[in-house]
Every structure is written in structure tokens, then in C-alpha cells.
Symmetry: D3
Subunit: 249 residues, 6 copies
């Protein structure tokens, strides 16, 4: 297996080069009630991310002077190629859903200062309107903007002296597809790759989460290194998009 992929002629169904992201679009204020509301698109993947502020914390944190942030994730039944059963109708969330919403929550908690937030709670909702691979990475990347927006609102309302988000956080998938390390897998690639990795990083380049899975045969250390390098470059571009969406670039 060759891993000097970035220069080889593309194997990707979309015609992208291995290091290409799909077009990223971040639309702020997509809905009007939430304190932060962002539609994020990674190509054909579209996720609505809202951040809701509540002026209280769960019982286990009361009186400790710190805040909390939690996340929920859902997929509309027909976001997918064929219809998936509605989780509310089945009466429970799948293991996959729970994994993803726990990941989103951890990722955002890594960059928000809970002391500075004070005794209030941010609830993130990431709902997938259309899925084409990468829904969890788009969710994290969009949620960061929505949370930033909601925290800015608290500053504007005089409830916080400064935005308690210490750094940006974004996420991207990488994988070995037909022997080539590629960035930002779409559905066709995701369904047929040998190794799949989701990487969550901060704007300053620190790792928050690394989750790599061998779908077929195990992957080598050299492949892991190639994937991490691709991911790092992708995160840099995503953070630039986040800043631009927030008018900070």
C-alpha cells in the first residue's frame, strides 16, 4: 500500500484530490429562536446546529459557580438515502447517536471555560437535515460557531464580561480509501474505506479527540501519521471558515 497519496491522480468518486475538503458553507441565524443557530454544509451534508442558553445548571453542579455544556444529535428520518426509522418513534436513541452526541459535548467543553461561563447551561442540538458522510465532524464544526454566537449574545447582554470560549474547535474525517489517505470522506468513500478516522482539533493545533477505526485490515503507524497530517491541514481551513462566519477573520 502506497501512502504518498497526495500527489497521485485522484481515486475519489467526487474527483477531489486527496487533500481537498468539500465546499464548506456556514450560515448564521438559520433559525430565529435559538441564542445561536447555524446551518453548516460540508458538500451535500447539511446540519442545523443550535445553541440554547439556560440560566441554571443541572443539580450536580448547583452552587459551584460553574457552568455546563451538553449536546444532543439527531438525524431526520429521510436525511439518508433510504429512510431510517425515527428514534422518537422507536422509543430510544441508537448507540451510534449516543456516541456522537457525547463526542460533540466533550469537544465543545474542551474549549469553553466553565468557570467563566458561570452558573448557566448551554445545550447544543445538532440535527442532520441531509446526510452525505461526515455528519459528526460537520456537527462539531458548526456547533462551535453556534456556541460562539450564543456566548457573544451573553456578552452583549452584559451577562458576561468576555466570551468564555478559549479557542476554536473543529473536526474532520480522514481515511484510507482505495489505498490512499484522503480528507473529508463523503458517503461513497465512507461506505468503502479501509480505515476511518475522526480528528477534533483546536484552532491552535492541539488534539481534542482522535478516533481511528480499521474497517477492513489494521492500519500501520505510517498510515496513521499520513492521516493525522491531512487532518491537521483540513482543520486549519475549517477554523478559517469559522472565523470568517463570525466576522473575526
Amino acid at each position: 500500500m502506497s501512502t504518498n497519496a497526495p500527489t497521485s491522480p485522484t481515486v475519489r468518486p467526487s474527483g477531489r484530490t486527496p487533500a481537498d475538503l468539500r465546499p464548506v458553507r456556514i450560515t448564521r441565524g438559520f433559525t430565529r429562536h435559538a441564542e445561536g443557530s447555524v446551518l453548516i454544509e460540508f458538500g451535500e451534508t447539511r446540519v442545523l446546529c443550535t445553541a440554547s442558553v439556560e440560566e441554571s445548571v443541572p443539580p450536580f453542579l448547583r452552587g459551584k459557580g460553574q457552568g455546563w455544556l451538553t449536546a444532543e444529535y439527531g438525524m431526520l428520518p429521510r436525511a439518508t438515502h433510504t429512510r431510517s426509522p425515527r428514534e422518537a418513534a422507536k422509543g430510544k436513541q441508537s448507540g451510534r447517536t449516543q456516541e456522537i452526541q457525547r463526542l460533540i459535548g466533550r469537544s465543545l467543553r474542551a474549549v469553553v471555560d466553565m468557570q467563566a461561563l458561570g452558573e448557566r447551561q448551554i445545550t447544543i442540538d445538532c440535527d442532520v437535515l441531509q446526510a452525505d458522510g461526515g455528519t459528526r465532524t460537520a456537527s462539531i464544526t458548526g456547533a462551535c460557531v453556534a456556541v460562539h454566537e450564543a456566548l457573544d449574545g451573553l456578552v452583549k447582554a452584559g451577562k458576561l464580561p468576555a466570551n468564555p470560549m478559549r479557542d476554536f474547535v473543529a473536526a474532520i474525517s480522514v481515511g484510507i480509501y482505495k489505498g490512499v489517505p484522503v480528507l473529508d470522506l463523503d458517503y461513497l468513500e465512507d461506505s468503502d474505506c479501509e480505515t476511518d478516522m475522526n480528528v477534533v482539533m483546536t484552532g491552535s493545533g492541539g488534539f481534542v479527540e482522535v478516533q481511528g477505526t480499521a474497517e477492513g485490515s489494521p492500519f500501520s503507524r505510517a498510515e496513521l501519521d499520513a492521516l493525522l497530517e491531512l487532518a491537521g491541514a483540513g482543520i486549519t481551513r475549517l477554523v478559517a471558515e469559522q472565523k470568517q462566519a463570525l466576522g473575526l477573520a
Copy 2:
């Protein structure tokens, strides 16, 4: 109580006259995977309606040569002014959700010829992205377009000789607000009206469902008549919008 409302100076928070609908927008093809996909907007209420076709029917209908149509309804947690708990996380759908999805299903079954549909099932999903009153009426009105679109697809694919939808169906709310019968209640009106009625009618003016509820004091026969008249006019305009969206006007 005076019911000669349509000519009195408006009492509505939005400044609409009693017989005004909110602006209606119907966007076809809002998502790409579903056989029918429509975003419908009644002012600030926005509902994504998809129609999914499956080439089989539930067990109780197998071998009977007829089709089936069913509907599910959901509200994104932050579609509302304050965040509502996610039904998938709570592990059950509320009574309100079940009432609405049963209503949507009955309304659409009233206009689709199940024999002509053949042994296939249409599943409608109505998911509220943003709520400002009238989510169930917008759902029915949008679902009609999505189902029509999905059925057109079956005709184009040669699976059906003709579209088995016999008539259009649309829905609108009416109510007594500050003593005046008004059409198409928004959230402010809905929270504060004396009587609330949802009316589902066909394009040719037949009633499919009439559901009126006295929220405060009981309503009179004269009030009921005034509400039904307003609703009829509203439905006529909604069916025109449906036809235009489908290129049939």
C-alpha cells in the same frame, strides 16, 4: 361578542386583517434523497415535509393489491421559543405529537387512491425546523405537495399509469382572537385565543377534518359558521399555492 369581524380595524399582533394568511412559501426539492421533499413556510413557521416510497406494504395489507400511506411528525428541540426536550431522548412521543401525525396521515389518505397506488407505501415525515403557530396545518399542506411529487416520480418511472392523488388537500387554522374570527393563527394569537379550529379541506371544497376546541368559554353556532367561512377562503388560496409549486397552475 361581535363576529362581523372581517371589517373591523385589526386586532392582530402582526397587523394582518382577520382574513389574511401569512406569506406562504413552498420550496420543492429542499433535500435530495427523498422521493418528495418540500420546505413549506407559513410566515415564520417552517416545516420540512418529505415523502418516502417503499415498494412493499405492512403485513396486514400484503397481497391485497392496495397501498398504504402513513405519517410521522417531529419538532426540532429548538424550533420553539424556549427549548423543548427531544422526544428521542425522552424515549417517547407526546400525546400531542401522536395526535398530529395521525391527523396528517388521515388527511392525505383521504385524497390518495390506495387501489391505484398498488402494493407500495408512502411515508410522510413532517419535521418542524421553526415554529410560530400552525405547524400541523403547514405540515398537511406541505405534505400534499411532497406526496404529489413522489407520486409523479412513480409515473415518470413507469411504475404507475397516472398519479393516484384524486384531489389536493390543505389545512388552515382559524380562531376567535379578542372576540374576532381570524384566519391562520400565529403563535401569539394561538396562545391567547378563545377558540381554535383546524380545518382540512380538499381542492374541490369538501371537508376532510374539522377540529374545533373552545380554549376559554364555549363557542356558538354563529362563531362556528364564521370560522368555517374564513377557513374555506384560506384553503382556496393554499390550494392555488400548491398547484403553482407543482407547475399545475
Copy 3:
């Protein structure tokens, strides 16, 4: 379709004329523990309605000086022609059950003065012992008597100066059966009618709920008017039965 039905020779399986109610029987004190306990029979339909008084209100109402009233509905598994699964064993209430119990609750709240009730809660339980059509209308009609009885008890016990029920409330079904508008559908009619409507009205003739559904083809305004007229006459007789059962006639 002819709607001048009341004079035509009967089409009804029971031999009733279109405007006939089934025999109504209201037995007070059917069980001994509840503050109000009524067995109501609409022909072969038999529902046990109890009203339970609790000297506290749900958390969302505490300290507001007003009361609350809620209702639950159930059907014994073999109340029906063939056995239905027990909802407690299935682990959830059907959408139909939830619709009905919400309707019962709204109907009774429309006639009880919550301020006058004070900080206490009335819970209505309507359990169908035998079903032959019209279980929801019998439930509302019987529950009104049970609640009245329970409130009388509070007056007798010196806890309330006067009965806070402002008016009676009763319910009846009407429908188009074989082209003829008929009153109080039994199971055979209910399974085979074109339009089915449940009407809830007060003793003074105001509408509390109107819920009409086209089971087959849509219904016209003329049919709706004919049905409402039949319903109004039926309600008048039911309220007379309620008053007699309470010794107020």
C-alpha cells in the same frame, strides 16, 4: 346523497331512527372508594368513570391558588369483540388512547372553574368495561356526573362554598351512515360510516369540541350542518339524564 334523513325509513342495524339515542343509563356510586363513581351505559357500551380528589396540584401550578383537572382512559382487553393487547403489558398507551384522554380532560376543564376549585386536583379515570361504539362520548358524559359528585362532596365537607362546575358538559357522536345523518353511532355503524363526528357541548348549548372526520369521501357543508343539528338535540337529552342522575331535574 340525500340529507333529509330523519324522516326516511331507517337504515340502522339496530332499527333506531336516525335521531334516536341508544338507551342511556347512569348508575352513581358504582364503586365505593372514589369521591365520584359512575357507570354510564350507552346501549351496550359501558364505561366506569371515577373522579379522584387530591389535595395538591402538580408542581407547575403550586402557589397559584388554582386547581387542576386531568383525565386518563383505558379499555379492558376484552371490552372489544376480539381481545386487544393490554396497554400496560405493551408498555405504552396508543395514540388513540392519548387522544381520547386529552379530549376528556379538555372537555371537563371547560366547565369547571379552576380558581374556585382551589389548590386541588381532580383525576378522572374512564375505563371501558364493554365497547360497542361511542366510548369517548360516553366517557365525557359519565365523567361530568362523577366530577359533579366529587365536587358536591367537597361542598358537603365544607371545603368549598359552592360547586365550581359552571355548566354541564356532554358528548355524542354523529355520522353519515349509508348516506343518512344519524345520531349516536354503535359499533356496526361506526365501522362502516362515511363521516364520523364527535361533538362536545355544554348544558347551555355552547360548543366545547367539534371533531369531524371524513372516513371515505369528504363531506359537504350541508352534511356538516345536518350533523350538528342532530348532535345538539342529542346533547339536550343527555344533559337531562345527567341532571336526573344527580337529582337536579
Copy 4:
């Protein structure tokens, strides 16, 4: 502790002597749809017992040429002194409910010949309309009559050559109340007894179930013997009531 109770002046709240049953009433045909339907009353305890026949067996028994019998038990929410939550609304049956319905099923299976029944299933439903102690023993005793009735129907319909019930089965509670062994505990006794035992026996005097529990201090072998003797006499009288209800006495 003295156990020569039967001759001592009564300690029972009801004034009964220790060996007295409460008045027993068995009303056949209480509801009309079930193949067997019995209202049984042990004093103020009233249970509706129905037996439903289905012409098929659960998957694990298919093709084995034998039948099955199962039971479910429920209590109306206001059958009790204070209202109990509805199990269907809570979404699960309590441990107590499950224990009782398993006991009813085992008791009846002990007297019905499953081979002779053939590939059909009997489902017993015991629903408590009013509770005053002894609901499980009344349920078993009433269910026996309902099942007999349903099986007689199969014989009359020519589906079975003879009734496959081999013997009668009845149940009664006994307990040590204020130091005295007593028969058929009512609610007041049940709430305050030292030992509580439910005994299920056949018409010919064999034991089907013996379930004794020390509520306070342990009980002795002598007490156990006294209780079993009381129970045996009670069962004899109950079986006589069953036979009379079935016209077999």
C-alpha cells in the same frame, strides 16, 4: 401465641368469626364479548374475569398438538382507597402485578388438559374493579368459572368432544391476625397481619400453590398447620359456589 382461634370471641374488624368467608357472589355473563365472562365478589372485592379463546398458539408451541393458557391482571386506578398510578401510563407493570398474573396462569394450567385443549390459546384477564383485600384469590376463583364457561362453549360449538378442565381450582387467603389464624383477609386485616398465606387448591383437595409470608415475626409449624386447615375448609366452600354458578351443583 394461641392458635386455637376458631372458638375465641372475634378480633376481626368485620365481626366475622375466624373461619368465615366474606359473602361470595359469582355473576356469569357480566360482559358480552368474551367467551367466558364472570364478575366475582369476595365481599367488597370485585374482579371481572374474562376468558378469551384464540384458535392458535404461541410460536414455541406450534405444531405440537397442544394448547396454552395464560393470564393477565390489572387493577383500575381507583379500585383502591387512594388512587394508584395507571400502569399503562407508567409504561410498565409492577413486580406485584407480574407475580399475580403468573400465579393465576399457573393455577389454571394445573387443571386444564393442554393436550385435550388442542392448538388453541385461552387468555384470562382479571381486572379489579374494586379492591378490599384478596384480589388474587378472587381472580383465580373467578377465572376458573370463566375458563370453564369458555371451554363449555367450545364443546357446544362442536370444537371439543368434552370440557378439558380436569378439576376445579380455587384460592383463598389465610393469615395470623392479632395472634389468631383467620380465613379470607379483607384489606384492614391484610394491612395489619403477622403472616399472610395464599393457598390454591383443586376441587379434590390437592395443593396447587402455597405461598406463605411472615410479614412481621416468623411463623411456626403449628401456625402453618392451622392456616392450611382453615384454607382447606374455605376452598371447599368456594368450589361449591363455582359449581352452583355453573349449574353443576
Copy 5:
């Protein structure tokens, strides 16, 4: 049927005589976190019993100056000959599980002085690592030792002046197997016996629970007497084992 079994040549698959217990082993301190932790073995049946102490009581007991004791029971999925579904994955505990854990709780509450325990709660967990019949009787017998151990710990920690366990409690099964009353049924016997009885007794010989069930034909009073006698002898030996395990023999 002959019941003078103890002297007849054995019919038992294991070769035991009718009055033989399987080898009993009680291992204290099997796990380290629980306040009491015991592995009990009845032959090939192995149950891990832990007792957890919590310095508070459920809401319904707060401020009453007394303690509480409750029990839960579980079976590892592959404790059995073929794998049983995991109850946590199915989302509910079976009726059998609930029956057993209620029995364990009642049995232990019978010998612990709740007043002397003070406002604290003991939670027993009995988890079956390997099943070969008699899991509920082993659970009760082992739980008694674990609870004693936990209570001793409270005495050593100076939280209680004396151990509030008033007596020992143990349990054993007895049954009629191939016409012979036998003690301590293993899986082969349990699956094929005519009558099965679980007996819970105190160290001083009082009965706490007697639960006998006719699996095939009813059992006679003589058989019941023979079974109780066998059980009494078994309990005596089990209590001796408990004392030895606790260093009290």
C-alpha cells in the same frame, strides 16, 4: 406415590441421597469495594452477593428514624446452559427476576431490625455467575452473610452499637422428583420435578416464606409435610455454614 423416600435407593441424577445438600461453599470478600461481598456456591450454582450501605433512606422513610433494605437480582447472560438475553439490553426485567428480588428483600428484612439500623439503607445485589438450579435460595443464603458482614463493618466503624441482624436466614428448595421428596434440586431435577417448593427459614427455625408449586399434578398434605421436614434439616445445615463463614461457629 410413596413419600417415605429418604431410605430408598437414590433416583437423583447426581447420585445424592434425597436428603443431601450439594456441597456449599461461602467465600467472603470475593470483591473489594462492597461493604459485604460473598460468593456462595451450591454445587455448580454460583452467586455473587454484595451488600452496599448508603447513609440515607428513600424519601418515604426520611425522618422516621428507621432504615431500609432492598434487593436486586440478575443473571449473567451466559450463566445458563444456552445464552439468555441480557435484561439491560431488552430494557426490562422479567417477571421472574422481579419475583426473585422481591423475595430476597422480604427474606432479609425479616431478620434485620430496621429501627436499630437507623436511617441508612442496605442494597443487596445477587448476581448469578453460573446457574444449576437453586439460584434464589443460594442468593438468600449468601445475602445473609454479606449483610451480616456489612453490618459488622458499621459496628466496627462505631456507627452502630451492635449488629442489628436478629437472626440468621437461609433458604433451600425441596421437591417431589420421580415420586420422591428430595432436598436442594439441581437443574436436571428442577426441570423435571412434579412439585417444587422454596422454603426460607430463620436460624431459630421459624418460617419466613414457603412457596410451593405443583408443576404437574397437585400435591397432597402428606407430601407437603415431607417436604417441609426435609427443608428444615437443610436450613439447619446452611445456617451452620453461614456461622462458620462468619467465624461465629
Copy 6:
């Protein structure tokens, strides 16, 4: 932060050097019914891993000539320092439980040839008897031995020509504790580390899963590299233990 930790004086509560594993013990045949049954101990963490063979596959795989392997995970309520609620009693598995059991399943599927397995299913159950950190890594490492044992049994029974496990698989945790990269975190370290990573590798050194999480501040690429190196060395030793347990070393 310094990451040249392996030579610095130890910071670990247990006194281990950074690259030390806890003592590993693998006991085969711990229970008798399962086709594979292993107790694995990583220090004070003890997990019972069983592998159950079923001669059929789930519906979605029938007739495809390949096998399936799935895993479930549970923790006894008092495996932990303070008692955790029983998932079967709560009625659902936590998100953490689902994450872990999905991870165990993926890890084992990576090394078993599903084609060679044929149409049969292996179900792994990992039940934690005692927890002291690292329960998921111990589960994977023990499950590998249990599955190998079960597959050996199929070979011995002549059902398979050769063991379809292609390679060994083991798992270990690594983390940054007080600034030092350490191997195999125990509970004290796990509760207080800055970065936590679980690594699953094959016997031949390929990666199957890498899951790293920043608990406090993000981690750097240099730290990631140091952790992966530690993990690799640990896996090598674990695979040696697995081979020795299976008599293959």
C-alpha cells in the same frame, strides 16, 4: 510539559514505572456453560468474558454464507467504589455501555474471518465483576481468548477445518498523568489524567482502534507519539499472555 517520562522517578499512585502494566491474569474455563469462558484481571480490574456460539445468523445475513460476531458489556452494580444503578432496573443501557460494547464487537470482528466462520454467530459477553480502571481494554483482551477458545471448540467438534481467528487482538489504555505518559491507567490515574487513550492492536502490530481524548487541555503531536509507543509495547506483552493462556506460547 515534559514527555521524556519513562526515566523520571515515578508519579504513579501504585508505584509502577510509567511503562509498567499491572499484573495480568487470564483464567480459562472460569464458568462451565459457555463455549469460551475467561476471567481476565488487570490488577484489581476483573472481567468475566464469555463467548457463546449459536448455529444461525441474524436475518440480514441469512443465506450469505458468512458468520457474525457481536458483543455486550455490563458492570455489576457494586463492581465500582460506590454502587451504580443496575441498567436492567433502569430499563436502558447508558451511552457509555453502548460505546464500549460496540468497540469490543468491532475489535474482535477485525481479527475473525467471517467467511471462514460460516453461518453461525458468536456473542461475547463482558461482565465486570470488579472495576479499577481499564475495564474496556481488559474486556477486549479477555474476549479474544474466550473467542479463540470457542472457535477451537468448533474445530475440535469437526464443524470448522481451522480456527478462523486470523490474528490476536488486545487493548490497553495510555494517558498523560501529572505530565507523564503512562501505560495501563488504574482508577486513580484515570480519574485525574489530562489525556486518556485506548489503543487496540493486533498481534502483528497493526492498529484496530485508536481513541484518544483530551480530558483537560488539548494534547500535542509529541504526546500522541509517546502514548502510541507505550501502547505498542504494552500490547506486545498482552498478546504474549494471551498465547500463554491458550497454550500457544
